[in-house]
Symmetry: D2
Subunit: 418 residues, 4 copies
């Protein structure tokens, strides 16, 4: 159980820390001001040039595509600018993801943003040479963005097998129909490619019925119906969309890894993706705790810093304990993934998917409370942080489903069939 | 300990229920659609005519100003349209407030909206004849709205005695300076009068230093700097404002109940106001629980209604228990206020101020979770409801301050000085 | 919703309070000392004479059998010494039960101790004239005690229909076989009669299969196998026993209300019984909170009373809120029982059965913590109190079963079949 | 951050696992039966021969004194039978301590029982050659036992500087007076030596006033007043005593590390001791979770294994997450101790001291609930386990004090003085 990053990863972590401190953090106030202005003009969905400038700087420093996994990165890390020319293990990448999680823009700037990272991993591991050339390379290059269209408005997303959208093979084409929502990233004008998940063969085994298909955004029949908010927040310019697919036809070669492979791919995609999400939330929780400490020490009431009133210090202690526990749990899941792959870390990945967003939600709520009314407003990053943590209790599977996985594995140790 | 409403109150409650079902609920989808459109046009701060139409209907049915307290309503209940011509006790009003709390617009429609109700109570109990004529009557008439400017951005609002804004008597005028925020209602064009709270005599006893002053919105030196959001929500067209006061001069006759009386007034104002807030949150929590039950029964996953999966039914039970406990606690506080006034209900009012928003936040969070991603979006009223509950853990005193009051009273029973 | 006791009940409550203060509390240290000595001598199962003396005094003051329910007490309240000669409603009895709950011996002293009260209610409501004469009257007289043998070691007690013990009618006899445990009271030498619950007709409807049978303790084939402890506590001299029944034969006339009626009777028995348990736990929690306040004010650390350290005052506030909420919830269940009987209060009784023991467990845990190591020892009544609260999360149906009832009723409002 | 044990430690862990499975577990039923019988005879304080037999077997296998810390073990590991002849790091020892924590007797059998381990560490690190010869060696040999007398009945133990017992230097003697309680181990007839902590110089700096003195149990003036229970449990034959010291005189050479050094020593003693306690509690929680899974799968109600009812599976998942988080947190504290000593792990040790006992208490409570009434009785090891976890929320500093340490360090990062 060794959670130490390699020397190269430790070096990259320090360089990311420096880059964030020198370039990203100083730019954030401007970014938020520009975004607010753009919103007021109704132009929030047009990406701000600031991000592209920062992306160029990150790439120049070799802090680019750091998410690329050691075992699959192959030639790509070298070709697309990751310093050192190879990918990182999950344990290596963890502290980097945590650092980027503190910032609203860092993941974008380092080309390490969900859902693109997950989509790139899918192509890396399961894509054909053509699929890699056409879509993976421009994504690694930061020229285009992508979306993953899986969740549907009409069915409970906790059970993916209930999905109703279809991807029917018709000769050398696939015909796609259905409606998806919470498709993150579709608001961005550079979002050129969707990975669509749909039902191909209703008669196959339960986990062999669905396929993943690459659908270029401009294919006829694809329509972005609207962009959804979470707690009033639209996450421009990426956004979360509701998308309809009406008799959309793409070549059968766009199916990733063949018909019926969607669940097999999802299994591989979601493990590291969930670890990344959780790592970033750890960073967010750390940021919230820092703000809470600072505010609590600065403001006074009844003649004392408010941090010294009532149970506030105990809450700070509980938050520290909760964050440190959660980080260790994430590192453990990362390490289990590293040493044995997704099948080795089923329980551990579900454990963090339950534990970390709940922890972050609670720590951020505490920070809000210490900030008073302002803590709920856009004056502080806490409302957005809370929303991110809360959303993650649903995205990539609700808490309840992941608790189910952990329980199934635990009871399996004692002979339970399921 | 008798929590039964009077026969007249029971009748009014049923009539409010019918009015909401017949007029308000059917109008709400239109209201939300109109508001969304107005927002898109940048005109969300212009009140929608729908509200005025519904106000007229409510008044016609005598369901108007029902918040008026029995012991202070005097002639006003009769003059301003409350059916039966007299005010209600807190116990009587409780189930009515709960019903209105389920709806985003019902409180406005019945002229029972915070902060106007609290401001009207202040004028009713402490206002001079001129103050009543000039400001209370148009408020009761629903012609104008009002704001209460107390919280300040620069100091911890948990300790009101740290307030830095000033209200200095200068001959027959008061000179007002300072900056306030979270002044609810100032976004509304009909908001014509502010009750300003500021420091008058720094050398007086700690709770005799501050005054409340009536400041007409259009007085020179009053400036609404901006409108604040909570979790991305602006609560248009009332809104929560940041307001600066620069050498604002009003007649000394605008001081309510004389210089140095602000805390005495606040004590009287906040008791019933907190009870009303809590009652409305009970309604909100009931609404959320209903939505959770319905959604949980409708949607299926793994071959079952999702309500039957994992711990969901236990969560429904816990929510029912939590709501019923909280309602009883609120009724108890209302009853204590009714039989002995604010001094008799200090602990009870603080108890509900802690217990109810926390309960509501949790029940609404559960309802969100059962709704999946949609539960966080504007497709459902849950995000707004959560924000309302969360805000109330800060507004009118943070949880921690109210726990402090409850503890002080409890320990006082065993001889503790404070 | 009127939770006020009748004037007679209010008077009895005050007289109970006075009796406890004058006679019972002063005797408790002696009682505990005598019991400890008896334990050391291995004679803890021999009742101490002190209790009989106090019983006589209670009876003399008319504070006897106060549990007798208004609607079923009939002649018995008058015949067996309850002052005023009639029974009390649940709302009337609530504050009395709360007072007795504070004391380890008061319920016994007032002849209001479980399980005898529940057993007496069964006989009162469902017993034949002979059964009343033979068993109810001596119980009301305080001459004998009784036990209720229902839970079995071999099956999950959460589902009573899985019970395996049998009560087979054989001509004019009933033949009883099986093993029961957690039969409270069987340790007491005066415990002369058991109400046994067993399977009579496996082919009947699920809730018509079982019968309740009166089994005198000295019937051949009845054997008390051992006495069980909860957290090391044996609750001498009543105790909780494991009892075997081997070919035990009693007259068929000993069946209460006829074969197959056990569940119908249990339904009626358990409602008020659960309310009484919860009322007493409220008293226990109040006692714990008082001890916590006193200890927290007396002891100092780091130069302050420990109650002023960290989050302790907030915990006191939370405990006060929790107790007051719980009491109101119990009063509400009592009132619902009073106005409409058990069928009217199904959810409410299950609500308190969940809420109150959990609340008490938590408040007592807090009191323990404030007492330091001593709080866990026999030097304070907290360990016994905690054990009582914890046990009640299982006795009379575990939390989970009661949450199930509340959920079923809640979801039933929205059309769910079960 | 490397939590992997050394190969030697991994081997020892497996050998401890085998020894427990082959020798200790099979002996436990007999041990508990013998103890129950001894209790019934009033002879529970006489150690059972079984333990001595098992000790001999453990020693034979080299599984003896495994607690000995690598950096201080010196010659002792080799001389007193630890296989391999050297001590273990905290990370190495962690999984061994976890295994022993599952058993009520394993720590004793392996000579790794508190408080002896802590006392031996004190002597190892701070003892003079004579002190080591006279007391450390027989302790390492398992011939005698020891006690640590620090907590006092008269003052809050959360603030050790309030201690009132005295250790006054008088020429070449120390005169000891005062009363201690919760002195673990004094019930055992082999307990021959006490480490006494008392006030030597009231005028010194706050943390330089107290001394630790070796007081042989048979010194005149030492009196064991009584043995205390926690939740009815006496932990025979070690026990927790209340001990009075009246004009007890021992040579000044019995002071450990010189007058005024008590806090410096305590600091060094308590770090690893707390880690050991927490490690053992992890084992206890694992044991409880296993029992919960097994019972939940075996028992049925309403036609299903009870583990599949309501929220039970979610509780199993939450328990697994909680245990794994807690174990990682303990390993982290152990690792910080290993790499930088106590000063490097102040926050981490306090973190686990808060997190682990609370976690264990909750997991064990869940296991109790799944066992029904039996879970609270002596039929299962859960009541004793719960008591152990609950006690640890007070022993070695209450939760609140440790939260205070964590908060102080956290706020110190932001410039807070304390």
């Amino acid at each position: 159980m060794d959670f130490s990053p390699s020397p190269r990863a430790a070096d990259l972590t320090e360089r990311v820390r420096a880059f964030l401190a020198e370039e990203v953090e100083p730019a954030e106030p401007q970014y938020h001001a520009d975004l607010a202005e753009a919103r007021a003009r109704g132009e929030a969905w047009i990406p701000l040039p600031l991000i592209e400038e920062l992306k160029a700087k990150a790439r120049e420093r070799g802090l680019w595509n750091l998410f690329l996994p050691k075992e699959h990165a192959g030639e790509y890390a070298a070709r697309f600018g990751t310093d050192g020319g190879e990918g990182l293990t999950n344990v290596d990448y963890a502290p980097i993801a945590e650092l980027t999680g503190r910032s609203a823009i860092a993941p974008l700037v380092l080309n390490c943003n969900a859902p693109d990272t997950g989509n790139m991993e899918v192509l890396l591991r399961y894509g054909s040479e053509e699929q890699k050339r056409d879509w993976l390379e421009p994504l690694l290059d930061g020229r285009i963005r992508s979306a993953f269209t899986m969740t549907e408005p009409g069915v409970a997303s906790s059970d993916a097998t209930t999905m109703e959208a279809t991807a029917v093979v018709d000769g050398d084409e696939v015909v796609i129909n259905g409606r998806k929502w919470w498709s993150t990233g579709v608001g961005h004008p550079d979002c050129k490619i969707f990975i669509f998940m749909g039902l191909t063969d209703p008669d196959a085994d339960r986990h062999r019925r669905h396929s993943m298909v690459l659908v270029p955004r401009d294919t006829p029949g694809v329509k972005i119906e609207r962009l959804l908010d979470t707690m009033g927040i639209y996450d421009e310019p990426l956004g979360h969309g509701e998308v309809s697919f009406t008799d959309v036809r793409v070549p059968a070669a766009n199916i990733i890894s063949g018909p019926g492979e969607a669940f097999a791919i999802a299994q591989g995609r979601l493990g590291p993706g969930r670890v990344h999400h959780c790592m970033r939330l750890i960073g967010l929780a750390e940021m919230a705790l820092e703000l809470a400490c600072k505010r609590g020490l600065e403001r006074t009431a009844f003649g004392k810093p408010i941090i010294n009133l009532g149970g506030n210090r105990e809450r700070i202690a509980d938050a520290r304990i909760a964050i440190d526990s959660a980080r260790l749990l994430v590192l453990n899941a990362a390490w289990k993934l590293d040493v044995g792959g997704p099948a080795n870390a089923l329980s551990e990945v579900s454990q963090i998917k339950v534990a970390v967003p709940n922890m972050a939600q609670q720590v951020i709520d505490l920070a809000m409370q210490i900030h008073g009314g302002g803590g709920l407003s856009s004056d502080f990053p806490l409302a957005a942080a809370w929303t991110a943590a809360r959303s993650l209790r649903l995205a990539d599977g609700p808490d309840e489903v992941h608790r189910g996985v952990v329980a199934r594995i635990e009871l399996g140790k004692h002979g339970a069939k399921r």
